[in-house]
Amino acid sequence: MKKHILFLLLPLALSCEKEIDIDYRETGRLYVAEATMTQTATNVRLTTTQSVNDDDNRSHAVDNATIVLTCKYYDWSDTLRYTRNGNYMSIANGEPGITYDLDIYVDGHHFASSSTMQEAPDVRSFRFVWMEMMGERLLYGDLRIQDDPDRSNYYFMHIYRNNVGYRWAVMKDEKDKGGELQQLFQCGSARDMEKGDSDALKEGDAIRIEVRAIDRASYDYLYSMQVMDNSGSNPIANFTGGCLGYFSAYNYVNLHHTFHRSEVEDE
């Protein structure tokens, strides 16, 4: 009887997904810079936008730019060296509290941004947890960070699955300053795993969790990227001159984990 009664409720939970064809309208190419400065080096990847249906990012690398990193506090600058696939690098590393400027000159364009290096984050733990929702087991990644109460902190957290970006999020500490901050990542469901969904985690997947302490400007950019799905809008500009992307000087910590379904905890 219970089954019959619940059957009556099924229409409420039914849904359907399908792929639809869209004739995308192309737009002119724009420059994209992903510039990072860590406690060990500085890297910039300069590319251009690609068509929505084009999945080869390497062919959009830009190799003719001049990229200059400047530190006004110590009065020095360094021109980054081009390596390959649009990558430029320097051994210049960041010092917490110091602001660095980045200038990109390419094909008559000039793009500029700046960022302030942060202290290393204090990462407490990471685990996978099952949660029940409407009869379905959902998998969550649960990350804990200890916040430093003496300053405003912003975090960028990135889960890599087999060295490929999988989930990411940004967080600021204003909601629980000095406390243990928590970030959850929804990682599919048990049903997705059983179906072999490509997005679902698989037994033995190598999981790396990178936690970066970033500055306010980087946070604003990445936060706007996080909410853009809902609004169909672009992230706010981090570079002047119309270049997409951002420049972030950050300290980071990595955690490593191997995914075993048997080790996932129940809430």
Binding site: E17, W168, D176
Partner: protein, 686 residues
């Protein structure tokens, strides 16, 4: 996307009759200004263009979903009116948004009027008498909406004998009782309705922590104090709770009014109404130790006075309203952080609307509404720079004026029917709105944030012009209408790019202001008599927005823009006991934003959007059918009624959300909400 997540997304937008006479005086008022559905002559001869009245007993023309005759879903079938989405009871009129409508229940404003993902309207059909929808062109005695006004009149109880009904459907049950507490003096009508999906869920270990619950009640007391005096007390309350695992979404509406109607000699009258209403949202998320709560409310308390004076060919409605509005745009507790923004405004209006019929074939109506809205001190007000940063804080003593906005709103309409079977109508109307809603993706949710007009947020001002031609056959068996309109709205708000509703407690920091416009043509053909009745309507429309800072400051199609809407509604009385009905709805693709390019950042593909709402979703269409079996028993003292319905008969999965995913190349994925949904209900009237 896991189904619970999609269901949650669907439920967020939800965070959102008549058997006998209604108040006689109100009825007479309504007859003068609106056109009754099902009455061709009134549609053709009525003065006010863009007004549609629904007699709730006539709602049976549309199939009942889950056995419920639903006023909001029936409204969505009228020309120029659109459903907000598949899972929404909210409606959009002539390019406006649902948040730009005002819904009045016995004069008191109510908000987010859907239950259970929009499957049910918050209004129990047993409690309603009439509903009049003014599609932007409204007489001066109405205001507060930059798009449409829906004026719902609750039913009064029988004054001759006690009666009622009881009804049970798949997801809810309802009951009503009505009758004379004092015969021919004091009548009562009391309705309750409750869902029991939550009870079913509790039977299952798997679903017992989830809840899909709603409740609503209506009470109306009608006291005929004297031959010329009548006092009506009306109350409406509704409550919703949706709990999925550790997410609780709750909202409630309460609206009450006490109305004294006095009839002068002749047909003139006075109506004095004390009104109060409260819409409240209360949402909690508790997930693996994270605890977040979001609260908000809109409250009104006020007094309204309207005089209706009739002399010869002249009719004058004049009056005023004063109302305190209290809006909590947000109060949230996120772990240990607690923030709140709550403001009050004093809303005043004076109006006069004069209607004159110089000759039988011509009616003129001219009105003026003056409004003042004062933001009151106590909480802080701000100055904001171009980036949304606070540059100055204004502190005022509690209830001292911070800023007052004055608006004058002329209204004009003309109806000319040179021949008995045809008329030409034209109208112009300016309306203003001082409660502003901020929505993500243009849908009504309990996570919407609201603000009053402040020193920074100006009143929305809408100007609409309309022209229409109306015809009927001499027997009034058929009637036809063709209406065109142009609408322009100033001071429309939208979120800045890169901002979400919870980015800052100070709502002015989140928004940008711009303008909107809409234009279109509405056609409708109705069959009014015979076994087969119904209508076919077609709407061709455009709706656009321009906000500096969004889409490079260029005009773009509004989120709710779609070009073609077709509704076919038919009811066929097969026998005295059996009635069949069907509705077919077709909407051409709704505007949405798709990427024009992509790029890689942090190992993820990020989409680049070159234009806002530049693409079209797949077309939406759906066929609903229903059958009603009605049989009087016990010499007509009881009536049994079975109602069968199938929503989305051919099980088409219509677009609800379109998302872009890049796990194996870029894929555009369409998520749909409801497939075929059968229903049955039993109703007993006594």
């Amino acid at each position: 996307m896991p189904r619970p997540c999609l269901l949650l997304m669907a439920l967020l937008p939800m965070l959102t009759i008549a058997q006998t006479d209604t108040t006689a005086v109100k009825e007479r008022q309504l007859e003068e200004v609106v056109v009754r559905a099902g009455n061709a002559q009134r549609r053709v001869w009525g003065t006010q263009i863009g007004a549609e009245q629904i007699q709730v007993k006539e709602l049976a023309a549309a199939p009942a979903l889950f056995g419920e005759v639903d006023i909001m879903r029936s409204l969505q079938l009228l020309p120029g009116v659109k459903a907000e989405s598949d899972a929404s009871n909210s409606f959009q009129v002539r390019g406006g948004t649902a948040a730009q409508n005002t819904i009045l229940y016995d004069r008191a404003p109510v908000y987010n009027v859907g239950h259970l993902a929009g499957l049910f309207s918050a209004f129990n059909d047993n409690a309603l008498a009439t509903a009049t929808l003014y599609k932007g062109l409204v007489p001066a005695q109405y205001g507060g909406a930059s798009s449409a006004v829906l004026d719902i009149t609750g039913r009064t109880g029988r004054s001759d004998r006690w009666g009622g009904n009881a009804s049970i459907g798949l997801l809810s049950a309802k009951a009503s009782v009505e009758g004379p507490i004092v015969k021919d003096k004091l009548g009562l009508l009391f309705n309750v309705r409750r869902s029991y999906a939550d009870m079913f869920l509790k039977m299952s270990n798997k679903y017992r922590d989830n809840s899909l619950y709603f409740f609503d009640t209506n009470l109306k007391l009608d006291w005929r104090m004297a031959e010329r005096d009548r006092l009506c007390l009306s109350f409406f309350g509704s409550h919703d709770k949706t709990a999925l695992a550790d997410t609780d979404i709750r909202w409630s509406n309460m609206a009450g009014s006490l109305s004294w109607t006095h009839n002068f000699r002749g047909q003139s009258s006075s109506e004095t109404t004390l009104l109060a209403s409260s819409y409240q949202t209360d949402n909690d998320i508790r997930l693996l130790g994270i605890s977040v709560s979001y609260l908000g409310h809109i409250r009104h308390a006020g007094l309204r006075q309207n005089f209706r004076l009739l002399r010869g060919r002249h009719e004058l409605n004049a009056g005023g309203q004063t109302m305190i509005t209290d809006v909590k745009s947000a109060e949230w507790t996120i772990i240990s952080n607690h923030e709140k923004e709550q403001r009050r405004g004093w809303d005043n209006a004076l109006w006069a609307n004069w209607q004159y019929r110089p000759v039988q074939q011509l009616t003129l109506s001219a009105g003026l509404r003056l409004t003042s809205f004062t933001a009151l001190g106590g909480p802080y007000y701000y100055d904001i720079d171009a980036e949304g940063n606070i540059t100055w804080i204004h502190k005022r003593h509690k209830n001292r004026a911070v800023w007052t906005h004055y608006t004058w709103e002329p209204r004009l309409s003309l109806s000319w029917h040179p021949l008995e079977w045809m008329s030409v109508k034209a109208g112009y109307s300016r309306t203003s709105q001082n409660i502003h809603a901020l929505t993500n993706q243009n849908s009504t949710t309990p996570f919407n944030r609201y603000t009053i007009s402040t020193n920074l947020v100006k009143p929305e001002l809408a100007d609409q012009t309309s022209l229409g031609f109306f015809f009927m056959t001499t027997s009034q068996a058929y009637d036809f209408s063709l209406e065109g309109y142009y609408r322009h709205v100033d001071n429309v708000l939208d979120y800045r790019d890169g901002i979400s509703f919870s980015s800052a407690i100070e709502i002015e920091r989140l928004v940008l202001s711009g303008e909107g416009r809409g234009y279109g043509v509405e056609l409708c053909a109705r069959k009014n008599t015979g076994a087969l009745t119904g209508w076919v309507s077609y709407t061709l429309s455009w709706s656009e927005t321009r906000i500096p800072g969004i889409n490079q400051g260029r005009w773009y199609d509004a989120n709710n823009d779609r070009r073609h809407d077709i509704n076919i509604v038919a009811s066929y009385k097969v026998t005295p006991t059996w009635t069949l009905n069907a509705t077919w709805v077709f909407n051409s693709g709704q505007a949405f934003t798709a990427p024009s390019a992509k790029y890689q950042i942090i190992d993820n593909y990020i989409y680049y959007y070159a234009e806002r709402n530049g693409y079209r979703a797949p077309d939406y269409h759906r066929l609903d059918i229903g059958a009603t079996w009605t049989k009087p028993i016990r010499r007509g003292r009881l009536t049994r009624e079975w109602t069968f319905g199938i929503y989305n008969l051919y099980n088409r999965y219509n677009p609800y959300i379109i998302r872009f995913e890049d796990s194996q190349g870029t894929q555009a994925k369409q998520y749909s909400l409801f497939g075929i949904v059968p229903s049955v209900a039993f109703n007993l009237k006594f």
